[in-house]
């Protein structure tokens, strides 16, 4: 590879082109190849253990037998709640940062803080959630504690991507809106946000993926109860926690792969659905 790179720097232009295409093409192949390998490996191993009973049954014998329905439900509840907490907060701060503050040291400091938060390992969020939500606020191991923790974890991503999305809305939209007698808030709601929505949604979808797959932060805050969650105040084990425990304790490798396959398929479906909705929204407004 390195040798080829040197040739690209020195060789004739025609050869440069050929080798560049080859190099870039192969990097892409390697990257995608590894990804698809992992994906198919898990689906290949996991799909045989999927069945209607597995998807809808209760967890029995700590996961050695039975299904994973409580985990599917728990994951769904935690994720939905986390989105409900994080999206308004994140989009709100993004609007404030972009539309209501001038770019100055203050805004830059906030942005830097947000970026640092995005790099904090999830287990630290888990620890914080455990100390603050579970113990201090006495929410116990519960869906509520878990989703609040995940919401905190999602916030930086949502703020960053929403900010980006809002910033790419042309200034001229704001001018036009103002020239038609709109106040700042009206401009934000009617002209800026609708145009930024696809970008904001992308950020939210990215965080949902992270949320569904999160293990460390959730095991600390939502616990690992195998029972069907009765309310948001009860503990649950999400799919990824279930998968982790099955694999780590060596309870049932087949069921672990089955759970992993469900996880992957779920994320795939969520993304497809979200982008489908987005596409419909955008195509109604554009060409």
């Amino acid at each position: 590879m390195l040798l080829l790179g040197v040739i690209v720097m020195k060789g004739s232009r025609e050869w440069q082109e050929r080798i560049a295409v080859l190099l870039l093409g192969s990097t892409c192949c390697i990257a995608l190849g590894v990804m698809f390998f992992i994906l198919f490996f898990i689906l290949f191993k996991g799909i045989p253990s999927l069945s209607f009973a597995f998807l809808t049954g209760a967890i029995e014998d700590m996961g050695r037998s039975g299904g994973i329905f409580p985990s599917i439900a728990g994951t769904a509840f935690i994720t939905v709640l986390a989105i409900l907490f994080a999206t308004p907060l994140g989009v709100g701060s993004a609007i404030y940062l972009t539309e209501y503050t001038r770019t100055g040291p203050m805004a830059r400091a906030i942005r830097f803080g947000v970026e640092c938060l995005a790099g904090v390992p999830s287990i630290l969020f888990g620890l914080f959630g455990f100390v603050f939500f579970v113990l201090f606020l006495k929410l116990k191991w519960s869906i509520l504690s878990g989703s609040l923790t995940l919401a905190l974890m999602m916030l930086p991503t949502i703020i960053r991507t929403s900010e980006e999305a809002i910033r790419t809305v042309p200034v001229s939209y704001r001018d036009v809106s103002a020239s038609l007698g709109a106040g700042k808030w009206q401009t934000v709601v009617r002209a800026v946000l609708p145009s930024a929505l696809p970008g904001i949604m992308t950020g939210v979808i990215l965080s949902v993926g992270r949320c569904v797959g999160e293990t460390a932060a959730v095991i600390f805050t939502a616990g690992s109860s195998i029972l069907f969650p009765k309310s948001i105040f009860t503990s649950t084990r999400t799919l990824s926690v279930h998968f982790y425990l099955l694999a780590r304790e060596g309870l049932s490798i087949e069921n672990a792969y089955g759970t992993a396959a469900v996880l992957i398929i779920a994320i795939l479906l969520i993304n497809l659905a979200a982008y489908g909705l987005l596409y419909r929204f955008v195509s109604r407004r554009r060409l």
Binding site: Y173, D175, V176, S179, L180, G181, A182, R190, R285, L287
Partner: protein, 247 residues
């Protein structure tokens, strides 16, 4: 509408250096001059659109119906409804043609559906666009051509029934055919509205303007009726500009 000793500066750059100019009701006042002569800065101070730009400062007064539009009593949103603006680039919002037209009306508050529908037809007709779009009002506005988009922008401004409409080089990005249609619309608008048109195109000023103001380096060189300016300008710089010696 009238300005008195209007000065506009951005940071340390003086764009408009003391311009007093009155705009007569139901006329088209065309402002010509080379680029950087302060035409747009002047225009944008007439509906307070400069305020959003960092570093903006001004002195002097701007009156609309005898009222100082920069006085704290004046609500800027209200003012911008009375003094509408059409920008150089046609900027339609990414929504349907219909929604673009009623955008400003919806901001004002509740209006009956029937009123909205009536207004849409009236203002699109005034902007010479109705015939072309009447069958696809609910299509995205971005499907329109550049010239149609600019006429949609005009209609959108008309929907608020402004007293004065400011045009900032409205044909800068349009081809000659589209330009002709926009000009036709502007000429007809003066029956109902007062129009201020900034243009880089002296022939456009001659075709559309009742009176012409010539700006140079942030100063008003002269104002006169279209015929006077184009046949017997009193200032040599004006003559040099309109005959194409510079600018």
């Amino acid at each position: 509408m009238e300005t008195r000793q209007l000065q506009v500066r951005f940071g340390s750059v003086d764009m408009v250096k003391g311009i007093s100019l009155s705009i007569v009701t139901h006329e088209v006042l065309a402002i010509i001059g080379p680029s950087n002569s302060g035409k747009t800065s002047f225009l944008r101070s007439l509906n307070r659109m400069n305020e959003k730009i960092p570093g903006f400062a001004m002195t002097g007064k701007v009156f609309l119906d005898g009222e100082d539009i920069y006085s704290p009593r004046v609500e800027v949103e209200q003012l911008r409804r009375r003094v509408g603006m059409v920008f150089a680039m046609p900027v339609v919002l990414p929504m349907s043609i219909y929604e673009n037209v009623v955008y400003g009306l919806r901001l004002k508050g509740r209006i009956s559906k029937q009123d909205l529908v009536d207004t849409v037809e009236r203002v699109l007709s005034d902007a010479y666009l109705w015939e072309e779009v009447k069958d696809r009002l609910h299509h995205p506005a971005l499907t329109l051509s550049g010239g149609q988009q600019q006429r949609l922008c005009i209609a959108r401004t008309l929907a608020l029934s402004p007293e004065v409409i400011l045009f900032d080089e409205p044909c800068a990005s349009l081809d000659p055919v589209a330009t002709a249609k926009v000009e036709e619309a502007i000429i007809r608008l003066k029956e109902k509205y007062t129009v201020v048109l900034v243009t880089n195109n002296t022939r456009q000023a001659a075709r559309v303007g009742d009176r012409i103001s010539f700006f140079l380096m942030g100063k008003l060189i002269e104002t006169g009726s279209s015929t006077t300016i184009f046949t017997a300008p009193s200032h040599p710089q004006t003559e040099a500009y309109i005959t194409g010696k510079f600018g």
